[in-house]
Symmetry: C3
Subunit: 306 residues, 3 copies
């Protein structure tokens, strides 16, 4: 299987076989991530972040550097040529000359796909609007496989802002290719988008719930995301529901011994700090897994691997 | 011919022989730009952008990385030491310790030359005020030679904002060393600066025109630049003249088959998108040519080449 | 002596033997700083600047690149994950996955030490609040040894803002380990912090003075820092004392021939430009010394040296 030259825009574009292959390649990257490699020596990554995202940017750069490559780019919305009125298509047709692969982060949905239409080098979607964040979902899946040995057969709960959280959209599409029970836990205002539900409900079992309390006993993977207060028209509304989506030691008393907690980070208070030291917590290990997953992706689209 | 240690501040400082030599070295860089090189392994480029310019910065960084070097720098006007009241001379005397070559972009005319007076490492002008942008002009000339085989004997039109466009100033100085017919096409408010006209009119044939319509039949190279609405005291004034400087398919019906269109980018609407697919369009190829030209310049001033 | 894995947070944590060892390693780096090295090939430095500081950041990056390593990071206060409410401990636990060593610059005192408590990779304090700036002090000491052959026996004056200047705090702690006469020269409002005085007065001779005029004849090392006008409630207050802390040719007439002037830079007007060409001035050489000192520190904490 070859991903050389492939754009990574949406996990909707990927088969289960392709995802499994990426996860296998990620595992193969573990020793290189430690020891470093010259596999991509001379290759250049461009990180075009029209919207800031320090951790996604640094994760890609760290992955590229571990493989011997270099990186260039920008990290602010207000870049010069865009201020001067340039459209995204032109920016991409310029930057594809500077680099061998481009990661695009953009506040607008569809931006990464538009970029891919104009570029002759591979485009990786580093997050587009509230739509998708495919490499985050791949590293989430890699974490599940690494920690639990399999994805099939698990009860997986996605918790928090399922409406605007791009990570959970990508993850839901990917999980629908596996044999899982998906539980969606959110305030009613922040329920999973209709379009995502429609796409996944015909493939896997999906249940929507309103509180963590109802589901904690049976879950194998608890995927927690941040709920932004600003989504609620009244702060009082937020205050009312908030507690139902917070993970603390008390809640964990009822969890399975083997249950793992993931979070795309940054977190605010949806996971209590006291949880960090439990054997359930895996959200900081996810960060490392992101590096090896992105090493796999970069090496594959550049035709040096897999 | 040696450019080792040379500052690249203004094309007024260059002879035709020197420019021809740079263009020849740029051509020699084409295969290295593709395959990458270790020619500048261990060398450090500093990009000091007191004014943002994503594409010039990324172009220099891509050139440096393709030659095996690395880059450091800043991309925002409000850098810390400048905010604290430091003058440019001190900033340069500090940064020359960090790097082997420095690219300076500055909103004030004369800034790059001042930097060169204080630095012991080569300074490259990455654009100073509305004055000059010498490496852009060199890549423009390289594009003409690459596409047309020669500069001598051509009818070359510079179109748009000839008053504030730093690119066209550098280009006009350089073209005055060749045997060309130069046609200047601009609204009267944005005519070529007197000082540039005085310097070039004694060397080459220069004609000033008010519209593209008058000159399109005879032109070999059409060099289009952006006209900023803000230059006009009344928006209505701009609206009146705007159409006279826009390139579209209709205008191109009357152009020579071999005519090429260049643009320093970013463009807004002065070249219609429909023109991109014609055989006249060369503005995206210019971006690639900028990388090889800057590879030539960096390797030459660092004494590794030519 | 091994500094592998060591955090560099405060010079209060260092013995004289350790500091002398760092200075010796810095000297050993001089030829490598010129010729470049592959000692840290494949290693990654993260520069987390929650507060901008172009020169400290570029100095560390230049040091890392000269040793064959690479760097990633951010240079603005308003980074994405912090805006989203993330605490420093979480940021550090994320970034330690991306890099082999982390430099933290933070507006709050104690930030670097907090980071070190959470990180598994070495943390280097790149300046924390008004508290300390240990690598600046180490490069200052290296400059003294390089220029004068020794630190012991010298009359060393610290001049300017001794209250908020983090550099002078770190330097005072370090100098208290040597046999020096320390003279503190500042407006009364900006006197050295009580906590620093308490720590050093039991170890070395310390005298506080109000003007440069009183001390210039006997000084061997004049360490000048910037006085920020904003520290004074009334601009008139500042105007009154300002002249007492400015170094010019007239003042230098009374200085020892061998006296050297240091400054952490940037300077505003506390050292007149006319002083730059005298044989007393060493503040631009300090910048170079900062690179070799940081090369020594990076290679030592990464276990490749010393």
């Amino acid at each position: 299987m070859k991903l050389k030259g492939r754009d990574i825009i949406s996990l909707k574009d990927f088969s289960r076989e392709e995802i499994d292959h990426v996860l296998k390649m990620a595992q193969a990257m573990e020793p290189l991530a430690e020891s470093r490699s010259n596999m991509l020596h001379g290759r250049i990554l461009a990180t075009l972040f029209f919207e800031p995202s320090t951790r996604t940017r640094l994760s890609f750069e760290s992955a590229m550097h571990r493989l011997g490559g270099t990186s260039i780019g920008f990290a602010e919305a207000g870049i010069a040529s865009v201020k001067k009125g340039e459209n995204l298509a032109d920016t991409i047709r310029v930057v594809e000359n500077y680099a061998d692969v481009i990661v695009v982060r953009h506040p607008l949905e569809g931006a990464a796909r538009l970029a891919a239409e104009f570029a002759n080098v591979p485009i990786i979607n580093g997050g587009s609007g509230a739509e998708e964040h495919p490499t985050q979902a791949l590293l989430d899946l890699y974490t599940v496989v690494k920690e639990r040995g399999t994805i099939d057969g698990l009860n997986i709960a996605l918790v928090g802002d399922l409406r605007y959280g791009r990570t959970v959209h990508s993850l839901a599409y990917a999980l629908s290719l596996y044999d899982v029970n998906l539980i969606l836990v959110s305030p009613s205002m922040l329920r999973m988008r209709r379009e995502v539900l429609d796409a996944i409900e015909e493939k896997i079992r999906v249940a929507e719930k309103a509180t963590l309390d109802e589901i904690i006993d049976d879950v194998d993977v608890l995927y927690v995301t941040r709920i932004q207060k600003e989504r609620f028209p009244e702060p009082a509304e937020y205050a009312k529901v908030r507690g139902s989506y917070q993970v603390d030691l008390k809640l964990l008393e009822r969890a399975k011994q083997s249950m793992i907690i993931l979070h795309p980070l940054p977190r605010v208070d949806e996971i209590a700090v006291e949880v960090d030291d439990t054997h359930h917590a895996r959200y900081f290990q996810q960060v490392w897994n992101g590096i090896v997953t992105r090493m796999a992706i970069l090496s594959m689209v550049l035709g040096k691997n897999g």
